[in-house]
Symmetry: D2
Subunit: 178 residues, 4 copies
Amino acid sequence: MIAEGGSVTEQPRKLQIAVIGDGEAEENVLRVAEQVGSRIAELGAVLITGGHGGVMEAACRGAASRGGICVGILRSGRLSDANRYCNVVIGTEIEHARNVLTVLSSDAVITIGGGAGTLSEICFAWIHGRPLFILRGFGGWSDRLENEPLDRRRTSPMFFFESIDELFAALTSFLSKG
Amino acid sequence: MIAEGGSVTEQPRKLQIAVIGDGEAEENVLRVAEQVGSRIAELGAVLITGGHGGVMEAACRGAASRGGICVGILRSGRLSDANRYCNVVIGTEIEHARNVLTVLSSDAVITIGGGAGTLSEICFAWIHGRPLFILRGFGGWSDRLENEPLDRRRTSPMFFFESIDELFAALTSFLSKG
Amino acid sequence: MIAEGGSVTEQPRKLQIAVIGDGEAEENVLRVAEQVGSRIAELGAVLITGGHGGVMEAACRGAASRGGICVGILRSGRLSDANRYCNVVIGTEIEHARNVLTVLSSDAVITIGGGAGTLSEICFAWIHGRPLFILRGFGGWSDRLENEPLDRRRTSPMFFFESIDELFAALTSFLSKG
Amino acid sequence: MIAEGGSVTEQPRKLQIAVIGDGEAEENVLRVAEQVGSRIAELGAVLITGGHGGVMEAACRGAASRGGICVGILRSGRLSDANRYCNVVIGTEIEHARNVLTVLSSDAVITIGGGAGTLSEICFAWIHGRPLFILRGFGGWSDRLENEPLDRRRTSPMFFFESIDELFAALTSFLSKG
């Protein structure tokens, strides 16, 4: 039996940070996604992704290289659909509705490039007040979005960055304020 | 940058095992759930739960005491709703529809006691062919179910046990056959 | 433009009644499902089903023959997957998670026969307090369930009947009490 | 019993057309939404909405005034949350994940104004190839979107209009081509 009190095992939940972007992407986008994944693991945070290829896989690869926990929240219900770097896989079978879950499972969301699926996740992050850290320079909606509120009904944190260093400086500062 | 090939970080996904049961339960039920959680962590498997209290929390407490990864797939979208032993929390905001996800995220499902919510998860495990390891002796649907197929449309693995030792002997044997 | 007040168009929502059961069933089961569908339309209620074949299609056929509104809440996102009697089709692509929606879209739930999927819907009806009207004599979980609460955490209305007439007498009485 | 063949009741499913936009909106936006709802009912199509207030309610009011079928696919599981013009209500309790369902339940999607929620639905329409008919002039994302593909992975039909007449001319032409 386990000792009363649980003082050893009970600990504050780690931060969970999502990386969202295209399921297929060019080499330079994958490289930056991998670096972002590494940085998340170095922070001691859990990486949340959609579990499939492209930016998701590259971010997981980066986090895995630093021994991080990589979570893949799949569209399908087949655990084998996850990329090979995920060490926790969530099967859903709810297809694109899982985009809500990626966002809700995160304390902060980093975007790199991104098409319509990524844009839907940006919308859900906005709606649910999950802070958005948007990396410019890699195309897609991360570049197309103007630095303006997504709507007037809410005020959610949304920040734009030109480099990974800048982004992580702001991210760590933001999250340390809790 | 990370070395080509990823040979260090790429590794077979760990087994993921769900423990399902009541969100509120009596002391003897919680005690057995905690033991089951410990055993799952000792196997090196990831524990999947619904992330809330009762059997879910007790199983997480057991797994956490052995340094295991404890995943809580919440009904809500508030990460702070998870019990304090979860080290990966999935926010969903899809309420009871998340019962499908608990099952789909698991290679095997262990049931202890259980009311209507647990029974719905047993149904989904049956439908999706996730093997069910049902522990007798702690009331609820784990005791009420007869040792008969849930329906004639499918043949899914469903096993009944009178003790934790028996259950884990069968579970490890089953999972090793892949 | 439309006149102020909307007094013509604003009217109390019709009752919505679900019929749940197997996607494949024998002739006698389909016949009773068709009769149940007809009776629902004769009450002026909207029929809610899972939109696919078997009991769902037979119930829709019955309701359509009386000019009723038949809603099919599909597992898939392809509207063409609905049976040909549905005149409102809800595409979901959330697969079995839609079982929650069938129940939540209904003021009352009638069960005929049924396997694991139907049993999961019975669980959700119980959890959400949607009254269950269970028709005996056609096999499956409608016959296997004992006349006992599904769990002790809630008290939800659940009634068992040996004939359609009996069932509809109780249903209309129950619903008229609002 | 019903006659063999079902020739009377079996009929082609009606077209289903969604109207999406803000849950709160100014008078001129509501007025146009109501007109759009009326036009949908005059086409003999089923109106699909999110079932709540603002643009959704105004469109339902318009359709109801022409005797149309108005479907509200709610975020919640409480049927009484629907606006008073819905005559079919789908309870979901999956919150914003239901945005996928609004789109998947439609043969075509009309947008008026719209914030982050509407933009997520536009994304899902794009992803699933549901044709988008976007009415300009009423603010929000319907005005902010440029006439460019949402991403390069797909080619989905997306059209922009300056007036209701123009929009419905194109919509009827598009849908008649099947």
